[in-house]
Amino acid sequence: MARYILVSVVRGVLTILLVSVIVFFLARITGDPLSVLAPPTMSFEDKQALRAQWGLDKPLVEQYFIFIGKAAHGDFGASFLYRSESAGEVILDRAGASLKLGLVALTMTILIGVPLGILSAVKRGTVLDKIVRAIALFGQSVPEFWLGIVLIWVVAVQLGFVPTSGIRSWQSYILPSIIVSIFGIAALLRLFRSAMLETLGTEYIKLARLKGLSEFRVVMHHALKPASIGPLTFLGQLAVRMLNGATVAEIVFSWPGLGLLAFEAANARDFPIVQALAMVGATAIVTMNLIVDIAYAYLDPRVRLGQKATA
């Protein structure tokens, strides 16, 4: 188990380094930040001074090593957009909004997706199953942007039930969290349905039923745990995506989180913020993968013992 974790950690660190290289150079391919941020009449001397202040006058490779050296200490440099703030400060300021929205959305995803997936599997072939599968299809197909605007129009403007945008009260979380979670609910629901159907068809489940156990006990105690392994991987990725900031939802609802920040920073070529967000996101994904891997090992002893899982 220890070796398993160590290998996962090393793999994760290498992944983060690779992401840092890709993001660093890709960001600079988009062009000169001064062509966006500087007014047209800014003098040549002022532009040169800004370039020097931002470290853009150095060779690219040198810029990268300066960046990665500082990033290792949590310093991602000064923001180009928010001149008196560091990229880290700006991100920390906005992270709370994304985390809260992400947690609400994640909770909704689990509380709705898991039970619906189980229900759909248990009631396979019934009207209920068809309704749930239609919900899944809708959730995975509908464009978030469109749904967000429609929900604002109907629920916020016409009915006046919730605010249209921003963070005003707990009601502000309702519509954005629906948008953030809808795809995850649909996907998780389908994954759980599929996994449960497979597990409920196994011999040991038949044995459990023959032993006279209640259907509830058979499903929740004997089938759910092994069926969770596959969906768990997806849930890990989903959690990172939700907590890192859902860009579309944050734009539509003017939610001052990391997704909106990423959009603004990319448009303005604020390299420090773009790089910092990418590194934070990559670190979060790698960490989540590590947690999922460890959870795998806990849930499935075959993984812990280094044997391949069999069908």
């Binding site: 040549f44 249209t164 603004e264």
Partner: protein, 553 residues
């Protein structure tokens, strides 16, 4: 599992309370509106900062505008410059001293005392040093001025090393960014230092505007309150102003209809939708937004030089960077103008609510500098005439290939019109940053750029029509440049108007660019909260400032 009756009742009660609580959002917003005006705006696109002298882009200056003022103001009805913190100014005969007489008794917020010349020097120095300020003021102060003095608290003297013209006055006016007056005493009370930039979790430095700072949250909003005394210039009608950042226009429309915001700016079609649902559209005083097409590519080979007369940089028949650029040919420029059906564009993109412009930078409202012949001859020189355009191209002989920057739908429509008359028009897709960089590097030899401006018209001409600068939009001609330099150097308004008209005659005949239309800037308001708003819509003033002119119902 069946839901039992108790659980069902609890769920119904919970949903009902959400609905009841939520349904009061609009009503609560309306009740509070009597005190706070909420202005829905797009977030600052180029960053937020507490230092308007250095860090705030001109398009984002609204974020602190209500709390600051400049030496020179802008008349909200005519867009002309008027005295603001400076009551008057004069140049000495030698032309090496410019003296401002400051208004007495203007108070800074938060009891930081009376505004004096020392505060102006402090604010302007902060825009100048260290280099790197996001402000035009520093550039001009560094190149044109040897020093600033305050012989008494209400007199500011600029010692000039070269003649100063119109651009300087534009840069220190209310419509420009970077030259607001902030309290030196406030900064010194915080320990001083350079640059004078408070952090985002601190208050900005005290200003003299009719509103003072309350709070701001980056990415969310900025809130101001009326000063607790009679303002020297104008008292706002609302106790508080909040700029609420909402990026998506459809969401801003929703927020307006839901009563969460009271005034906003929307695209034309959304504004019409809002009006159909009971909101009111208020237009600017002037149709100050001017749209046109510029032709980029007819460059001199020589590089431009800042702060140098054009005749010392370029030669009259100097070598061209792209000798074969189609835009060096006046007839081809005329053909391009004649290809454009301005009325069709107005009908398609402005719902018919725009007027055809006969020039791009001369305003018919400024009668002293307007030539009526420009109206009379417009159809002959510029007007829509596809057959005339085709004839010019046929007489040209060879196929003419051009590029059109696919900036937006209107640019794409223009490209189609150019193709229809026989230009081989290629649409070029680039984001603004890449496009600006490439144009400034003079990479284009045959580009058509659709653009708009609400700038002050004389100084706004420079980036579009003057060769010796870096934006590289102009058809470069050193004789035109020399005439233009005379215009901007003339400080007497009557003499300047004549020079400007004479220059207009030359530019008009040369078909330097293709003027298209003029539109009013518009705001969309909740008519139960906002009964009127006066703002010029021109002279570099955007819609978001002038909040003290918003009238409460």
């Amino acid at each position: 599992m069946r839901m039992n009756r108790r659980l069902r009742l609890r769920m119904i009660a919970a949903l009902s309370s959400v609905a009841l609580a939520g349904s009061t959002f609009g009503a609560m917003a309306q009740d509070a509106a009597a005190e706070r005006l909420i202005y829905g705006v797009a977030p600052p696109a180029y960053g937020e900062s507490n230092n308007p002298n250095r860090d705030i882009h001109a398009e984002d200056e609204f974020q602190l505008k209500p709390m600051y003022e400049n030496l020179i103001g802008v008349d909200p009805e005519t867009a002309e410059w008027i005295p603001m913190l400076a009551e008057s100014w004069e140049m000495n005969e030698a032309g090496d001293k410019l003296t401002f007489h400051l208004r007495k008794g203007v108070q800074f917020h938060n009891d930081f005392g009376e505004m004096t010349a020392d505060d102006v020097i402090f604010s302007w120095n902060d825009a100048t040093y260290p280099e790197g300020a996001n402000s035009d003021l520093g550039r001009i102060l560094r190149t044109s001025i040897t020093g600033m003095e305050a012989p008494d608290p209400h007199t500011l003297v600029l010692n000039l090393k070269e003649k100063i013209g119109l651009p300087f006055f534009e840069i220190i006016s209310y419509g420009a960014a970077g030259s607001v007056i902030r309290s030196k005493a406030d900064w010194e009370s915080r320990g001083g230092g350079s640059p004078a930039t408070p952090k985002m979790d601190e208050k900005p430095l005290a200003g003299t505007g009719p509103y003072q700072f309350v709070s701001r949250e980056a990415g969310r909003n900025a809130i101001f309150e009326k000063v607790p005394y009679k303002h020297w210039r104008k008292d706002g009608e609302f106790q508080e102003i909040e700029y609420r950042y909402i990026l998506e226009e459809a969401t801003r429309l929703s927020a307006l209809l839901a009563g969460e915001i009271h005034i906003t700016v929307l695209a034309k079609e959304l504004g019409t939708e809002a009006a159909n649902r009971g909101m009111k559209v208020i237009k600017s005083s002037l149709p100050g937004k001017r749209w046109g097409v510029s032709f980029a590519g007819c460059y001199y080979k020589a590089e431009w030089k800042p702060a140098t007369p054009s005749a010392e940089v370029f030669q009259k028949d100097g070598e061209r960077l792209y000798p074969d650029s189609p835009w060096c040919d006046r007839d081809l420029r005329m053909a391009a103008s004649k290809a454009i059906d301005r009325q069709a564009l107005i009908d398609a993109f402005f719902a018919g609510d725009a007027e055809i412009a006969h020039t791009w930078f001369w305003l018919p409202e400024q009668k002293d500098s307007w030539n009526p012949e420009w109206d009379e001859r417009f159809d002959e020189v510029y007007g829509y005439d596809p057959e005339g355009a085709r004839k010019i191209l046929e007489e040209h002989g060879e196929p003419v290939s051009i590029q059109v920057w696919a900036k937006d739908d209107i640019a794409e429509a223009i490209s189609g019109m150019l193709s229809d008359v026989g230009f081989d028009a290629e649409l070029v897709s680039m984001d603004r940053g890449q496009y600006n960089a490439a144009r400034e590097a003079r990479e284009f030899d045959r580009m058509v750029e659709f653009d708009d401006t609400a700038s002050e018209n004389i100084t706004g001409f420079e980036p579009q029509g003057y060769a010796n600068q870096d934006s590289k939009r102009a058809i470069e001609n050193v004789e035109w440049d020399t005439m233009y330099e005379e215009v901007v150097a003339e400080l007497d308004p009557a003499k300047r108007a004549k020079l400007w008209r004479d220059f207009g005659d030359v530019i008009y005949e040369a078909v330097m660019s293709a003027p298209l239309f003029r539109t009013y800037e518009e705001v969309v308001v909740n008519p139960e909260i906002v009964c009127g708003h006066t703002f010029p819509g021109a002279g570099m003033s955007d819609r978001y400032p002038f909040v003290e002119n918003i009238e409460k119902c």
